[in-house]
């Protein structure tokens, strides 16, 4: 339970640890893509943390990073193959997103920082909740970007007619501003709590 709270808020991977920023900037101009991408990420973090934890007794220290990368890449390619075979439409819609999961430092971060020294089930839970922490932050950013940039939510038009879309919101820099604002808000709330 405390792990859940920690990963969702106090130690959120995106706005406290500032990890996974590449994908935060790249994919969040559309809620649907963001959602599918983060679900795939949750799957990969959870299972790669589990696998790293199961194998941790046998992995030599010198090559542990390489082995972790191998495990992560294994799951990402595995997901990619399965999507291609059984959900071709989603696979087409996702395109390069799936492959990009490999480069997400949250997965590596959790494997190295947590799974390396904790039991399997706990590691699985930690990976899963870290993914959730990543997901909710991205969904908020995607909500604002899609709404202001396209006037739609999940591809459904919701803005009043005559609404001028903000082109900047479609481009990556807008995620910088939104993320900055979000970090600012969350830090303010956290500091207030600490004072109390």
């Amino acid at each position: 339970m405390s792990i859940l709270k920690e990963n969702l808020w106090e130690n959120n991977p995106v706005f406290v640890q500032i990890l996974g920023i590449c994908s935060t900037l790249a994919v969040t101009n559309n809620l649907t893509n963001t959602f599918i991408m983060t679900v795939a990420l949750i799957f990969v973090t959870a299972f790669s943390s589990l696998t790293v934890s199961l194998l941790k007794e046998y992995i030599p220290k010198k090559v542990r990073m390489i082995i972790q990368t191998l495990i992560i890449a294994f799951y990402v390619i595995f997901v990619d193959i399965l999507l291609r075979a059984y959900l071709p439409n989603i696979s087409k819609a996702l395109g390069p997103y799936v492959g990009l999961i490999i480069t997400n430092c949250i997965i590596m971060g959790r494997a190295e920082a947590f799974a390396q020294s904790n039991p399997p089930i706990l590691s699985f839970w930690d990976g899963f909740t870290s993914g959730l922490g990543y997901m909710w932050v991205l969904m908020i950013i995607a909500f604002f970007r899609e709404f202001l940039g396209f006037g739609t939510l999940f591809g459904i038009s919701v803005a009043p007619s005559g609404f001028t879309t903000w082109t900047i919101m479609i481009m990556a820099p807008s995620a910088f501003f939104l993320l900055g604002t979000l970090i600012w808000i969350s830090k303010t709330i956290m500091l207030k709590k600490e004072v109390k």
Partner: protein
């Protein structure tokens, strides 16, 4: 044996890599046929769509395709729809990040695009990647074309006027738009000199 021993490290790395790659190959082999079938079907659908056939009225896409489409030259196909000959060209060309593949259908006189479908690309998702969205592709339906065909920067809502020799590009994806314009003009020129 000690864990940091060099021999152990090497053996462990080899064995674990072998296991993971082996599992992946198994999955790949098991799904290979299905993936190939999906891709073939996807391409057939692109052909049918670009020529303007209504997919809802066709039961077996593959059968329909084999009966109605004829490959006249490499990558140039033709079909007869309601007595009108349609020429379909399977194109590929450089996008901003990688090759863009697709099919484009012209009318018999080569002055109108019947339809355009993108089958594969590696443009930026949400920016250049939007070339595969419906509104973008729909602009090409019945669009007049000659060698001065242009994709221009519009208001992002699409240009559905068929007689102006141009369609709207994608906001924020200037380079992809430019590349696609070149691909389409090249396709047009190629079909013109090779049909």
């Amino acid at each position: 044996m000690k864990k940091d021993n060099i021999v152990y490290t090497v053996i462990f790395s080899v064995v674990i890599t072998f296991i993971f790659v082996f599992l992946l190959s198994l999955t790949y082999q098991a799904t290979k046929g299905k993936v190939a079938k999906n891709e073939k079907l996807f391409e057939i659908k692109a052909f049918l769509n670009s020529a303007g056939y209504d997919l809802n009225t066709i039961n077996n896409y593959e059968e329909f395709f084999n009966e109605n489409f004829k490959e006249e030259k490499t990558n140039i196909w033709s079909t007869n729809k309601n007595g009108e000959k349609i020429i379909i060209y399977k194109f590929s060309g450089n996008g901003l990040w990688g090759t863009i593949y697709g099919v484009i259908a012209f009318n018999k006189n080569l002055d109108k695009i019947i339809g355009l479908e993108i089958t594969s690309h590696s443009e930026t998702p949400g920016l250049g990647g939007r070339i595969e969205e419906e509104w973008f592709k729909n602009q090409f339906k019945n669009q007049q074309i000659n060698d001065k065909f242009k994709i221009v920067m519009g208001d992002g809502k699409g240009d559905f006027e068929p007689n102006d020799n141009s369609v709207d590009g994608i906001t924020g994806a200037t380079r992809t738009t430019e590349s696609l314009q070149k691909i389409i003009v090249d396709a047009y020129e190629f079909v013109k000199s090779n049909r």
